[in-house]
């Protein structure tokens, strides 16, 4: 018997029993839609979290530190330094030659400073000391100017060019807030101030350091903004504005530390870095060409008796959590499909009894067991297919409805749900498999119909 004939005969039967067919398909479609929607929510949440992780954490970078440095915060550790485990400039050069390494440079947070422009406006930035020439290799692109070899220059990132406000104006708003902490208008004004752009390029800036003990304010000598970076593509405007960083060379950091009232305010390791730039570094950041190669580079770094840390483990942990979520979602969908499959078994078994005479005639005309069985299985498969198609359509409507609600509540476009292309065939697969499995018993039952009993008219 030809496949086309199976399809035609089965389709004829389904068409004859439209209501039963639609009810069975509806049951399957609910299960299929449940799978697609649940999997899509899981997938969208995973993608969103991954995207957020990529924005906030560099997943293709490795932080390298010496094995015996005082990272633990224990000052006595310094006296026990094993020179072989130091992160020396020779080791740094060696790391740069490793396959898949795009860049490697000391990158150390000096601390947070208030920044003052010549017009008296101020903002706050994080200052990081690094090899400025490596910035571009780390994926930072310049919007204005270029990296300068000259001392006492800084490179500002996109976020560092926002939020320069007169101290008095800011203070006035804080005072208002103190009087009425629930004044949304004031919050909005403060937010707007933080979004005020300033043209920093080639401007003179000064870092302000407060001595908490004496309450005295120290101003650094002026530094020149030699370049301004572009906003990273992976970040939203909001995120970029909140990330205010100024990069200085290692030499400038050293010079800054020597200014009256200035000293690195972070950890002892920072002090190490500044004082031992030539010999060894407390921290080096390594950029790898792809996330896939991070572990390979990490193991090579560890062979140099160095500590290596990256954010991939967090990503993997997140992945595991979402995999579990997906499994639960799939389980819920499959349970609904199982319930739906009972309706098919019942409907098809009923149909078998209703069509006993027809089955008997077909057997008398030469249809064998396999052909009768296949006809019923294909019928059930078609119900599964129809249910799958309906389920995919329903799931699109559901996702569309949820997204409509989410967007109307003011969420960002990146927060909407989506149906990943691989979920649709998965949903269809389960719908069809459910149809086939549910059709097995009625099919076997039908094929066993005794032809003579079926055609006998009493």
């Amino acid at each position: 018997m030809r496949f086309g004939d199976y399809i035609r005969l089965s389709f004829d039967q389904l068409r004859r029993r439209k209501v039963v067919t639609i009810l069975c398909a509806l049951g399957i479609s609910i299960g299929c839609a449940a799978i697609v929607v649940a999997m899509s929510i899981g997938e969208s949440a995973a993608k969103y979290s991954e995207m957020q992780m990529s924005r906030w954490f560099k997943l293709d970078e490795i932080t390298v530190s010496p094995q015996s440095t005082g990272q633990s915060g224990d000052p006595s550790a310094k006296s026990e330094i094993d020179e072989g485990s130091l992160l020396t400039s020779q080791k740094l050069e060696l790391i740069r030659t490793f396959p898949h390494v795009q860049a490697a440079a000391p990158m150390q947070e000096i601390g947070g400073f208030q920044t003052k422009l010549t017009n008296g406006t101020t903002s706050y930035v994080q200052v990081i000391a690094t090899d400025l020439n490596s910035l571009q290799a780390f994926g930072h692109q310049m919007r204005l100017g270029a990296v300068s070899d000259l001392p006492q220059t800084v490179i500002a990132n996109f976020g560092a060019t926002f939020g320069y406000v007169d101290d008095k104006a800011r203070q006035a708003l804080y005072d208002k807030l103190r009087l009425n902490p629930y004044d949304d208008e004031v919050y909005k004004q403060l937010e707007n101030l933080d979004r005020l752009p300033a043209n920093l390029y080639q401007q003179s800036i000064q870092f302000v350091q407060y001595d908490q003990q004496s309450g005295r304010e120290y101003l650094s000598p002026p530094l020149r903004v030699a370049g301004v970076m572009k906003k990273p593509d992976s970040q939203t405007d909001n995120m970029a504005m909140n990330q205010k960083i100024m990069y200085v060379s290692l030499e400038t950091a050293e010079w800054l530390r020597k200014q009256p009232g200035f000293r690195p305010i972070e950890s002892d390791s920072s002090a190490n870095m500044v004082s031992t730039t030539v010999e060894h570094y407390p921290l080096v950041t390594v950029k790898v060409d792809s996330q896939d190669n991070v572990k390979q580079v990490e193991s090579k770094i560890k062979q140099l008796r160095l500590n290596a840390m990256h954010n991939l483990e967090q990503k993997e942990r997140l992945k595991e959590e979402f995999a579990m979520m997906r499994t639960i979602a799939l389980g819920i969908g499959l349970f609904i499909l199982f319930i739906a499959s009972i309706s098919i078994v019942v409907a098809m078994t009923m149909s078998t009894y209703q069509r006993r005479r027809q089955i008997g005639i077909m057997k008398v005309l030469g249809a064998n067991l396999r052909q009768i069985r296949n006809m019923f299985i294909i019928e059930a498969t078609l119900i599964g297919l129809l249910g799958g198609i309906m389920g995919v359509i329903f799931s699109h409507w559901i996702i569309w409805g949820i997204n409509g609600l989410v967007l109307s509540s003011g969420a960002e476009a990146s927060e909407v749900l989506f149906i990943a292309p691989w979920i649709i065939p998965l949903g269809m697969f389960f719908a069809i498999i459910t149809g086939i499995l549910a059709g097995l018993y009625p099919a076997i039952n039908a094929s066993r119909t005794d032809a003579l009993t079926a055609i006998r008219r009493d």
Binding site: Q358, V364, N368, R457
Partner: protein, 240 residues
């Protein structure tokens, strides 16, 4: 062509065994048209079902084209029926959701014949039974006589060795009955197909060449009909 040897069949109802057929022996030559005549309960339908392989006899053998169908399993019987046996039922037994031509094609569908070839053959047979323009209609749109003609066309599509007709005119009026019998006789002659017709009406049986009469499960008479004698055909003799 069709040979029945010492065929017996009985039904068991608990401990009680009821014999239905007892020691039946006869042969039917290829291309002949034979009637199985008997009143209700004579065992003629049981004999037909046994010859068609729809039941297994208690004893005896049934040979069709020298194949003993008693030894075949269900799937082998299905294959055999498909190739060698045609059926005509009293109540036509057409599939209502298929068109007339699709009903005629059905045995070919189970054989996996190409749609083009089976359509051509089905159309040809519909012409043979006098329904050349009814192919696209559904069976419910046809009269009883027309439905029986469709059933005849369906039985012939695989060019079977033998066609078993179970009371083929039982549901028809006299005029239509004559038409259907006439078609069967024509096809018998034209296609040289063997027909075994089960009937309880002597008038219908008289249209065939030979009448096998059953009574209480025994073959009591095997006679050449007057119409066959008039035509000069040949098998005679009476078994008691």
């Amino acid at each position: 062509m069709l040979r029945i040897e010492q065929l017996s069949h009985s039904f068991r109802n608990g401990d009680e065994i009821t014999p239905v057929l007892q020691h039946i022996d006869f042969q039917v030559a290829k291309g002949s048209m034979v009637a199985l005549l008997g009143s209700s309960g004579s065992g003629k339908s049981t004999l037909l079902n046994l010859m068609a392989g729809l039941m297994k006899p208690t004893e005896g053998n049934i040979y069709i084209n020298e194949h003993n169908i008693v030894k075949m399993n269900e799937n082998q019987l299905a294959e055999f029926r498909r190739a060698h046996i045609g059926f005509i039922f009293q109540a036509y037994e057409l599939i209502p959701n298929l068109t007339v031509i699709e009903n005629v094609e059905l045995p070919f569908v189970f054989q996996g014949v190409s749609p083009r070839k089976r359509r051509e053959k089905a159309q040809h047979l519909l012409e043979q039974v006098g329904l050349p323009d009814k192919g696209k209609m559904f069976v419910s749109q046809l009269s009883g006589g027309q439905q029986q003609r469709v059933s005849i066309a369906r039985s012939l599509i695989t060019e079977p060795s033998v066609i078993f007709a179970d009371e083929p005119t039982g549901n028809l009026d006299t005029k239509t009955e004559d038409e259907v019998i006439s078609i069967l006789k024509q096809l018998n002659k034209k296609m040289n197909t063997t027909f075994v017709i089960v009937t309880h009406e002597r008038e219908v049986a008289e249209h065939t060449e030979r009448v096998l009469t059953l009574k209480d499960g025994r073959l009591i008479e095997d006679a050449v009909t007057t119409s066959a004698q008039a035509a000069g055909s040949g098998i005679g003799g009476v078994h008691t």
